[in-house]
């Protein structure tokens, strides 16, 4: 097979005496939707935090399209092509829905501080393009009608969708979704699944997602990794995972 978009080898992190993640090997290939599941406290979010350099890993390497990103900082990793959402939603609460998405495009459209103060045509052109792209994203996530309200006054489900839209605005190669359906009702979840598939095709990105909603995971993920106590318990297709005895045991308890 070709070079994976994301290739993680022997990844591990210790918090003091606690080993939260250990010896994790994981690949995500282009155009794939991959699930990362596991019981509470298994270390899933911690993996995301290492990938986006919120945490420094204690061991192991992380490669994006063959490029070592294991020593970059959060900003550089985003520029390299990883965008994410957060389990506990982190929006720019005081900014409008529209501006949340626009902020995601800051590194894609360059105009200088000189252009800013003197309102050059360059600024105008960039801002128009930013506006157009942001509108397009908002429409995909059914947020266009609330584009002018404060992000913090959106309902919960809409806030989750806005986070995805904002992440996509950075034009990533790999999108990390941390429990995107948490707090959504079944109908919203169903819609979200369609949207996730849609953006994968439209923007041709790879997606790695953490989710507790098993119907969602089994439905849209092409491959699944199962984490338990920070180590890999199993990996495979949804069918393989569904019938894996170790996984069933871990989820149901012994």
């Amino acid at each position: 097979m070709n070079v994976p978009v994301l290739e993680v080898k022997n990844l591990g992190i210790d918090f003091g005496g606690l080993t939260a993640v250990n010896k994790l090997n994981l690949e995500v290939y282009a155009h794939e939707i991959v699930g990362l599941i596991g019981p509470n406290g298994a270390g899933k979010t911690t993996v995301f935090n290492m990938l986006t350099r919120v945490y420094e890993q204690s061991r192991g390497t992380i490669c994006l399209n063959g490029q070592d990103i294991g020593k970059m900082n959060t900003v550089e990793v985003n520029k390299a092509g990883i965008a994410r959402t957060f389990q506990n939603i982190r929006l720019f609460g005081e900014l409008s829905v529209m501006d949340n998405v626009k902020t995601g495009m800051n590194n894609r459209f360059e105009y200088s501080i000189f252009d800013t103060i003197f309102h050059t045509p360059k600024r105008k052109k960039c801002e128009e393009e930013i506006e157009k792209k942001a509108e397009e994203l908002l429409k995909i996530f059914h947020l266009y009608d609330s584009k002018d309200i404060k992000a913090s006054s959106l309902p919960y489900g809409a806030q989750r969708r806005l986070e995805i839209a904002r992440a996509l605005a950075t034009d990533p190669k790999l999108l990390l979704l941390d429990e995107p359906a948490a707090g959504m009702n079944p109908q919203e979840t169903e819609e979200l699944m369609n949207t996730i598939r849609f953006i994968r095709d439209k923007f041709d990105i790879a997606i790695l997602l953490i989710e507790h909603d098993m119907s969602l995971v089994m439905n849209i993920c092409e491959r699944i990794y199962v984490l338990n106590y920070g180590t890999l318990l199993a990996k495979g297709s949804p069918d393989e995972i569904r019938n894996d005895e170790k996984v069933i045991k871990a989820y149901l308890g012994d």
Binding site: N78, F86, R90, F92, T103, F109, K124, E127
Partner: protein, 352 residues
């Protein structure tokens, strides 16, 4: 030009239009009054300082309101701007005879030097996260004040003379520019109300241009959620530095204007109290609320001066005004009401 008009009066931003209209109307009314009736000395003497404090308030709001950092030493930047402008204006008095041109050059010098100080302070501090900026600016304000209190600077036909120790510079038929604790003692008063008005418009223009741009969105995103901002590629320390330096430049301009409105000016004027006073204006006007800053600064600065004749009742009235202003600018319900009202007014205005 079209861009400028759109920025000033575009449909999208009502609060922006209100800012400019408010300032322009106030200027026109005051100018008309001054031509019509004789205003009291007290009133006219307050005009330029009020403009200066409005600019300082706007500048501080950029840091505290929009960038979410605390500065406890903005009077320090005002001082840098002030005394730089005094020196520049003094040195240029013979080479640039046109007062307006000299005022512009002096204000530019004050802003630039103040901006440089802002850069030197903020670059190392804003690399760290936490409230270090508050501590460092607090120290900066004190240090700058002490520094200027100890500078003796004069010039004569032989050039500039400078000392940290005493005022005996043995000038040869020259002129003292800074005399230690006495500060500037013989400055040409070249600032006036109109220049203050223009400078407010420029400050508003710069601030609105900034906050409506990608840089402004970056600044506010870093304030609202640092980790999320980084996750979408916003360089936190760069954006915060940008906000802080812009703020220092504006504070320097306000100081320059202030200094050139008085023939004498002591460095002690720019002490911790001044920094806190302006912080109070900004907080009462509402963080990130530009119109609030303008109104609160005007009311809270002018009122105590106007009320001097009322003696004992002064502080009582002042306290009541503080509460009312805070309610007006920070309560969501009242804000909604004011917004509705302004919408109605605006619709009428358009229809007519």
């Amino acid at each position: 030009m079209k861009n400028f008009m759109e920025l000033l009066f575009g449909k999208k931003n009502r609060s922006r239009t209100i800012s400019f209209l408010m300032v322009i109307v106030a200027y026109v009314v005051i100018e008309a009054l001054m031509h019509g009736i004789r205003m009291s000395r007290l009133f006219t003497s307050l005009l330029v300082p009020t403009c200066c404090y409005i600019i300082l308030g706007l500048s501080l709001n950029l840091v505290v309101g929009f960038s979410g950092e605390l500065s406890l030493g903005h009077a320090g930047f005002m001082a840098v701007g002030a005394f730089t402008a005094v020196v520049a204006s003094g040195l240029l008095s013979s080479s640039i005879s046109n007062a307006i041109l000299r005022l512009i050059v002096a204000v530019l010098c004050g802003s630039i030097v103040s901006g440089l100080f802002g850069l030197v302070i903020s670059v190392p501090v804003l690399k760290l996260s936490g409230d270090y900026l508050a501590i460092v600016t607090l120290a900066f304000g004190q240090i700058i004040k002490s520094l200027i209190t100890n500078i003796y600077l004069g010039f004569d036909s032989n050039g500039m003379h400078f000392s940290f120790v005493n005022n005996n510079l043995s000038l040869n038929n020259g002129k003292m520019l800074l005399s230690g604790p006495m500060g500037a003692t013989d400055t040409a008063k070249i600032a006036n109300f109109t220049s203050g008005f223009v400078l407010i418009l420029i400050a508003l223009f710069i601030i609105y241009s900034l906050i409506d741009s990608k840089y402004g969105r970056a600044i506010m995103s870093a304030r609202d959620n640092r980790i999320a901002a980084e996750s979408i590629g916003v360089d936190i320390s760069k954006t915060k530095t940008l906000a802080f330096v812009t703020s220092a430049i504006l504070a320097g301009a306000s100081g320059a204007l202030y200094a050139l409105n008085y023939s004498t000016l002591q460095p002690a004027k720019f002490d911790f109290n001044t920094s806190i006073l302006v912080l109070v204006y900004v907080v009462f006007g509402g963080l990130g609320n530009i119109n609030g800053t303008i109104v609160a600064t005007t009311v809270l600065y002018v009122l105590p001066e106007m009320l001097r004749s009322l003696q004992d009742y002064r502080m009582l009235i002042y306290a009541i005004v503080l509460i009312v202003v805070m309610q007006l600018t920070n309560s969501a319900k009242l804000k909604q009401y004011v917004e509705k009202l302004s919408k109605k007014l605006f619709k009428k205005g358009v229809a007519e």
